[in-house]
């Protein structure tokens, strides 16, 4: 039901590398779960409003008052690669 190509497309969107074996397994497993999820199509939902938040909350806004930010040292503390006070990443094109 969900093809190898679809799996690879979704993996690209999700930035997940999959080995060939993982791609095959993923295709099978996703198909099985999606088959179960298809149950949703049994319902006529045209007149139903979607629920994105279960508990009605008044809009929670924050006053525009600054707090103390983290120091550069703390901000960078857990970074795998640091240079010039910033987070170093490989170039998009290499």
């Amino acid at each position: 039901m969900i093809s190898r190509d679809q799996v690879l497309h979704v993996a690209r969107l999700a930035r997940l590398e999959l080995t060939d074996e993982e791609t095959v397994t993923m295709s099978e497993e996703l198909s099985k779960v999606l088959g179960h999820i298809e149950k949703l199509s049994e319902l006529d939902l045209t007149a139903v409003a979607p629920t994105s938040h279960v508990v009605a909350v008044d809009v929670a806004l924050r006053a525009d008052e600054p707090h103390v930010s983290l120091s550069q040292e703390v901000a960078l503390a857990a970074a795998p690669d640091v240079a010039d006070g910033g987070f170093r990443v490989p170039s998009p094109q290499a």
């Binding site: 497309h9 690209r12 969107l13 930035r15 994105s52 938040h53 909350v57 008044d58 809009v59 929670a60 806004l61 924050r62 006053a63 525009d64 008052e65 600054p66 707090h67 930010s69 983290l70 120091s71 550069q72 901000a75 960078l76 240079a83 010039d84 006070g85 910033g86 987070f87 170093r88 990443v89 490989p90 170039s91 998009p92 094109q93 290499a94």
Partner: protein, 479 residues
């Protein structure tokens, strides 16, 4: 031979305005202004695990003011969504933006219809470094600074109503002055607090259907926008006339070379997988919020321009200059209120002499020239207490040292020479000193009168009224 097809240009703009709040859109970090990298961050804007966004109330307030300034419908319920893409400048892997339910819909500014205005967060800054000389293409690595990440943005999208590069520039200038007037942004293109993308297409005149559009990205000055649009329109026309199709793509305009280059397309088509941000509930606009936004609205530049022209009789260019440069308009109105000066000469002195002396980008309110002083000076000139030339001398003095124009006239002895009794002996002396000139004038040749006037002016240090001198010359020569 069939006549050549005429093309018309269709342009829509997407403008990002950085809001001048104190803190970021979804966290309480202060906005960055050139600090050391990564010193304006917190768990939220670094997207640390477990951190959650909370909306800045002031950003909503500014968004509502922008909506009011653009004549938009302010939606009583708007929804933040997640726009998902991976890039190092997007720490969460999604940008919180508004997709289907924006804060403001519809509207109009300067004859261009507004499609929508919505709020979102700015990306972080990626500095490409290392590798082949720091150029994007050849760089081996980038360094990310999250100080800017999360700055509140209002994205304003126009309808495709703009038909030329000049109109696009004019619209952007009006938009910029409007934003500046309502105080929601610094709207500085060079610093990136105003950014503009243009969607451009052309079509044969009379065709209803829109042509294929291209997107010109991130141009950072008004002149470059106009030049970029002109270049792209020319490129598209060239393609169509050669029978080649326009391809939908994103382009970068290099103002140095005037060249348009296609920005490398991402490896797959965008699929942003928008869905409502579950960490934020819908924004509902209360009557109190609306009232506060309305109360904060000043007179907008377009309305002010009309008032200056209609009520004060200023000419259109002067009215626009004063209305679009808020600080200049404010100074002018302060001077108008503080003295007895007539509006038209006061406006002219403000926009010409004063601006010339201070520089085009200087707020006169910060200068030595108090509005009352300029008004007093203009009154002295219009009442002929001093000549226009002496007025300029007084203004030089005011710009340099400040002070009161009447006192300067006094100490510098710049008062216009009174009537004939004071001036007549000076004129007589001048005629006497140049008998040959006097003779030629008497003979009906008025050309050399300048020499007499010049002599009188020299003697009076410019305080004499040229017209009065001419009258006296004629009188004394019996003409």
């Amino acid at each position: 031979m069939t006549p050549a097809v005429e093309y018309e240009t269709v342009i829509g703009l997407e403008i990002h305005v950085q809001l001048a709040t104190r803190t970021k859109m979804f966290c309480s970090c202060g906005l960055g202004f050139g600090e050391e990298p990564n010193t304006r961050t917190c768990p939220v804007c670094l997207a640390l695990p477990g951190a959650l966004p909370v909306i800045n109330a002031e950003a909503i307030h500014f968004g509502l003011m922008i909506g009011l300034a653009l004549g938009c419908k302010l939606n009583d319920r708007s929804i933040f969504d997640r726009k998902q893409y991976f890039y190092p400048d997007s720490p969460k892997g999604y940008q919180i933006s508004q997709n289907e339910d924006p804060l403001c819909s519809g509207g109009e500014l300067g004859g261009v219809r507004i499609h929508r205005a919505h709020l979102e967060e700015d990306a972080a800054k990626t500095i490409h470094s290392g590798g082949g000389g720091g150029r994007i293409q050849g760089s081996a690595a980038s360094v990310v600074d999250f100080n800017r990440g999360g700055t509140p943005l209002c994205e304003i999208v126009t309808e495709p109503d703009i038909t030329s590069a000049e109109q696009a520039g004019e619209f952007l200038r009006l938009l910029r002055t409007t934003m500046r007037r309502i105080g929601v942004s610094d709207v500085n293109m060079e610093e990136g607090s105003l950014r503009c993308d243009a969607n451009i297409s052309i079509r044969p005149v009379g065709q209803q259907e829109l042509g294929v559009k291209t997107e010109l990205k991130n141009m950072n000055s008004f002149r470059f926008i106009e030049r970029g649009i002109r270049a792209e329109v020319a490129r598209q026309e060239g393609l169509l006339r050669a029978g080649e199709p326009v391809v939908q793509e994103t382009l970068h305009f290099d103002p140095r070379t005037e060249r348009l280059t296609s920005m490398r397309s991402k490896e797959e088509a965008h699929d942003y997988r928008y869905f409502p941000e579950p960490d934020l509930t819908p924004v509902t606009i209360t009557p109190e919020m609306l009232e506060r936004a309305r109360a904060a609205m000043p007179e907008l530049p377009a309305a002010r321009q009309a008032r200056f022209a209609d009520e004060l009789g200023l000419n259109p260019d002067t009215a626009k200059l004063l209305a679009w440069r808020t600080e200049l308009g404010d100074y002018f109105e302060a001077a108008l209120a503080e003295g007895d000066a007539d509006a038209v000469p006061l406006a002219n002195w403000t926009t010409n002499e004063l601006v010339q002396r201070l520089g085009a980008d200087v707020d006169p309110a910060g200068s030595n020239v108090r509005p009352a002083a300029l008004a007093g000076l203009v009154t002295l000139v219009t009442e002929k207490k001093i000549t226009a030339g002496a007025g300029k001398t007084v203004l030089d003095k005011l710009v340099a040292e400040g002070g009161d124009p009447t006192a300067i006239v006094e100490t510098e002895n710049l008062a216009a020479m009174g009537g004939a009794e004071e001036l007549a002996p000076v004129v007589a002396a001048a005629l006497e000193a140049q008998p040959d000139v006097a003779a030629r004038i008497r003979g009906g040749d008025m050309k050399p009168i300048g020499a007499i006037i010049g002599a009188v002016m020299k003697e009076t240090k410019g305080r004499a009224d040229g017209k009065e001198v001419t009258r006296l010359v004629r009188e004394q020569l019996g003409l």
